[in-house]
């Protein structure tokens, strides 16, 4: 399959081919699905360290004397009190409180923020943000040859220290750091999408390939988007289009922390959140013996459809299938799932399926 004529590529495209990656189209980009084993790559991340190319995600700078207040109004999160040098998870809401996208803001200065949003929503997000943010400058650098390398797993600390030749380097959870390295100064955030301790490294065009190669030499395994989806689902971290979308509010998704101060602050979507009754649904986890409940499969309680699967995957960590679904708040099962017409019982599981170690 040759998609390369129409798809965008990250600066690591040749490196993935050399590693034998299975490349697939994803949100307009050609990305590695796996390097041979989704399960093996999941395990490597949990047991030692995985290295992910997430350069398809959009990188955007916001600058201006009123930028914090403008972002505060445009997003669900309280941005004005975000400390310089810290990352925060929040979202873009519609006027009716529905989730248009989730994202991370990184405050790099009093009047400067960096933002990473989902690749699939890049252009819509930019259009929305440009309509909501009129004084500050907005600079989309997604295609500048730079990249995002996610280094995740318990060995990440050692690898980052060796990468930067600094045995004391150890940024705290959600901290930003600009350590020196043989590749020049790096921009690092202690963030990730696996539930593991790890970092996301924002490389320049000159750094992308050299840093990728060096991190592999230091012992990380390359990990594709297939395992990334397994890992984030094990950690019950939401994915746009699955657990979160326009018909889901932050309350439905259990993401109240992403709209901190919603009762008293004013931002786009806040009136709807303030007026809304408490959520009528809840996100729950399922495990099964063998079959993977997949996106869209009906969920039933007492033979009546009460919801649909949001995400499903085979968990390498638990060695069994896992899935999420929204069901009515007062519905406690027992639940069955219709697997392509065959109804089979599923077990309710506590979320996250795998405990987070990102703050360790």
């Amino acid at each position: 399959m040759n998609h390369s004529e129409t798809l965008l590529q990250t600066p690591l495209a040749s490196a993935h081919k050399a590693l034998g990656a299975k490349l697939v189209p994803f949100a307009g980009w050609e990305m590695p699905l796996d390097y041979g084993s989704i399960l093996g790559e999941s395990r490597a991340t949990r047991e030692s360290a995985g290295l992910f190319d997430v350069g398809h995600m959009a990188r955007i700078w916001f600058r201006g004397p009123n930028v914090a207040a403008e972002l505060d109004h445009a997003l669900g999160g309280c941005i004005t009190d975000q400390p310089i040098g810290k990352a925060r998870y929040t979202m873009i809401l519609a006027e009716d409180g529905g989730i248009l996208d989730d994202l991370i803001t990184y405050r790099t200065g009093q009047d400067e923020f960096f933002m990473v949003v989902n690749a699939a929503n890049r252009h819509r997000d930019l259009e929305i943000l440009r309509s909501r943010i009129t004084e500050s400058t907005i600079d989309d650098i997604t295609e500048d040859g730079g990249c995002i390398l996610a280094l995740q797993g318990p060995d990440s600390v050692r690898i980052l220290q060796e990468l930067c030749d600094d045995a004391d380097l150890s940024p705290g959870f959600l901290d930003l750091a600009w350590p020196g390295s043989p590749f020049g100064q790096l921009f690092v955030a202690r963030t990730g999408y696996t539930g593991e301790l790890g970092y996301e490294i924002f490389t320049t065009a000159e750094q992308s390939n050299a840093v990728w190669q060096r991190i592999l030499e230091l012992g990380a395994s390359p990990v594709g988007l297939g395992a990334r989806d397994v890992l984030r689902l094990e950690a019950a971290m939401p994915l746009y289009g699955h657990e979160i979308h326009e018909d889901i509010t932050p309350f439905d998704a259990g993401l109240r922390f992403a709209v901190r101060g919603w009762k008293t602050r004013e931002f786009i979507g806040s009136s709807a959140l303030q007026a809304a009754a408490p959520s009528s649904k809840k996100l729950i986890g399922f495990t099964t013996d063998k079959r993977v409940p997949r996106d869209g499969y009906p969920v039933l309680a007492n033979g009546i459809e009460v919801g649909q699967i949001c995400s499903g995957a085979f968990s390498a960590t638990l060695q069994k299938p896992i899935a999420t679904a929204y069901v009515p708040l007062d519905c406690d099962g027992p639940f069955t799932v219709s697997f392509r017409g065959k109804e089979m019982p599923v077990d309710v599981a506590v979320l996250p399926f795998v405990p987070h170690r990102s703050r360790d």
């Binding site: 297939g226 993977v292 085979f314 299938p321 392509r340």
Partner: protein, 127 residues
């Protein structure tokens, strides 16, 4: 080259005829595309299969795939042990990894299928 003692479908099933019994399976290429397997669902002995209709499902970490029957007939044997030994299906799809045996009528049951050489071209076009 894949075994030339049997016939293939371009949906990556194989069929081998011996008298009035056809053994069905899926090819190594199908398994390579599916990736790591998690589940196999085969029908029971005595069930009927119908040409062009799915007789079971194979599921991998990535996706669920129907098993398509190239023939009409009645199942006389199903390799149910494979469900708990997916490794055999993955590593030996043309022998130990056979799926079902079907009694057919007429010796031209596989006439509409393609031979190993033609199947190589199908694989080449999808690789």
């Amino acid at each position: 080259m894949r075994p030339n003692d049997r016939s293939y479908l371009d949906s990556h099933e194989w069929a081998k005829i011996d008298g009035d019994v056809v053994t069905l399976g899926i090819t190594d290429f199908a398994l390579e595309q599916l990736g790591e397997l998690v589940y196999l669902d085969l029908p029971d002995v005595g069930d009927e299969v119908e040409q062009g209709i799915g007789f079971g499902e194979v599921e991998s970490v990535k996706a669920v795939s129907d098993l398509n029957s190239p023939i009409d007939g009645v199942i006389i044997e199903a390799n149910q042990a494979l469900a708990d030994d997916l490794e055999s299906l993955q590593s030996d799809p043309f022998e130990a990894g056979w799926l079902i045996k079907v009694r057919v009528s007429g010796d031209d049951a596989l006439a509409h299928m393609i031979d190993a050489a033609a199947y190589e071209e199908v694989v080449a076009s999808e690789s």
